[in-house]
Symmetry: C2
Subunit: 316 residues, 2 copies
């Protein structure tokens, strides 16, 4: 398997593990990289010094490429980006912010930059900013999400048409069949968050992971649209947010109610009642917490069997 | 091309034209059937006598199979279902309602029944009710939509896992690449609404169709969740609904504001300001109003070239 994504990132399979808050430290990222994908450290829930520690440990755990996901609106951004360069990180996935602000800095320091977008319009802006590849993330994805609410089926072909860069599809993809479907729509590779968030190596709370393996369709919904649209599990916190929203609460009232640290207490500390629990729609297809090695083997085997099946399909 | 969907419906290609209010009369349905797909009359915007007229005219325009889409909660349901049997219609796609209520009646009258659902849970209920096949419709679809908000990428494989019936995927599919992607995820065929709503033969207002060819991603959103979730184009009516919703309006207040006939005045009469304008997310990929013959040829050719491309992909 070789294509523009594997060539750019120097990996065996065009499968990227999404860099997620509270889930993706050095254990997860190194396991994915060791199994032929690209592991990403999720800097969005780390201080700069903690990120340095994870980079060091990740490097001890794998000789293969890995990267760091950085939400560009993160308050610790200056410190994070200084560490990235000091530590000689070679791949950055940037998200949630304007790619113009930092892409040149990364590129000048020899870093490959991939930017995450939710629409063709932002994909074109990222291309103009000089990034090397695009992740396009559909409505199915967990956590923070685009305002356009475009599902991956409609989104992937439109971004494919809009930009010529290598294209990585995310949102609703958790199996080998999903990878093949994304490729049919024009993607060169995929980024999976949910599937890897629910692995043994994920640093999320075991309680959170176990809850995710019991979810059904409709058990997550896009919430907090007056702040920043976020896909959450429908727990007690979600219900309380919904009541406020249904009664016309404004952004300030929602912020007041939420306070701070809700994803940490939910996803890391395991408070399933009061925490913000972020996971994608594909969680309802995942019924087991497995090691990354098993997950990667399954994905590859699913990809191969569905490719084989399509190869036996006749033309119309 | 032969599979369980083409066998069941006796059609050449497993491509069904969604039965849509104000768009799908005899001209559209017969054109789709004449080009190898399955045309559906949309009974949801017809009186029983008008449906009888469309059935008669459709039969004059094609010798090939066609069907009728019936929203089971439609107030005219008794009259519609009487006409269906009197006129000897052979295929019914039922939606929006409990499949237990009418499936036996249809089956006892020798009719093939396909039921439209938005989740695995409802797919299983439809299977239990004895339907012959399932349409699973993802969040990307226009108009009325499931409360689970599951995108097609996450939905198709889950419904595939849940039921063994022939599976038709809908929502976000408007191209041959989309058909191939749906098949990769386990579908046996597809239903396309938006692509055919924007054809020459669609009976929707020309103004509405032209507007749809100018839409960008994010120009439709799921609205009216306190009533029945409906994907609408963001026009002035949508903005007014959103203001009410943002300020906490309840279902009664929304109903009072809407009054009746909003889809008719929008989609049929072409009032783009005050009408409810229902179309799917894939509209932003469609830039031309073409005859059904051209659309079908393009879809088939796209399907074949993307299949060819996948066939040249190496296993991992």
């Amino acid at each position: 398997m070789e294509n523009r994504v594997t060539d750019l990132l120097k990996i065996k399979y065009p499968v990227i593990q999404g860099g997620m808050v509270w889930c993706s430290g050095w254990r997860l990222a190194s396991a994915v990289s060791n199994n032929g994908g690209l592991g990403l450290l999720g800097a969005g829930s780390m201080t700069p010094e903690l990120l340095r520690e994870h980079i060091t440990k990740c490097r001890e755990a794998t000789n293969l490429p890995f990267g760091v996901n950085i939400p560009l609106i993160y308050q610790e951004i200056d410190g994070i980006n200084r560490i990235i360069v000091e530590e000689g990180v070679k791949i950055v996935f940037s998200s949630a912010g304007n790619p113009k602000t930092w892409t040149k800095y990364f590129k000048d320091n020899g870093i490959t930059v991939v930017h995450v977008v939710s629409s063709s319009k932002f994909a074109k802006k990222a291309e103009d900013a000089g990034v090397d590849a695009i992740v396009v993330e559909g409505f199915e994805a967990g956590g923070h999400n685009g305002r356009e609410e475009t599902g991956s089926f409609a989104l992937i072909p439109q971004v494919r048409k809009a930009v010529s860069l290598p294209l990585i599809a995310a949102g609703g993809i958790g199996t080998g069949e999903g990878i093949l479907a994304a490729m049919s729509l024009g993607a060169d590779g995929v980024q999976m968050g949910t599937r890897f968030a629910l692995s043994e190596e994920s640093s999320a709370s075991e309680k959170f992971k176990r809850l995710c393996t019991t979810l059904n369709e409709g058990d997550t919904l896009l919430s907090l649209k007056k702040l920043s649209p976020t896909r959450l599990i429908k727990n007690e916190l979600f219900d309380n947010i919904k009541k406020l929203e249904d009664n016309g609460a404004n952004a300030d009232e929602l912020l007041d109610f939420l306070g701070r640290g809700r994803t940490r207490i939910g996803m890391f500390e395991g408070d399933l009642v009061n925490g913000e629990l972020e996971i994608g729609q594909i969680s309802s297809l995942i019924r087991e917490i497995e090691p990354v090695e098993t997950i990667m083997k399954k994905i590859i085997s699913e990809f191969n069997s569905s490719l084989k099946k399509l190869k036996s399909t006749n033309e119309w």
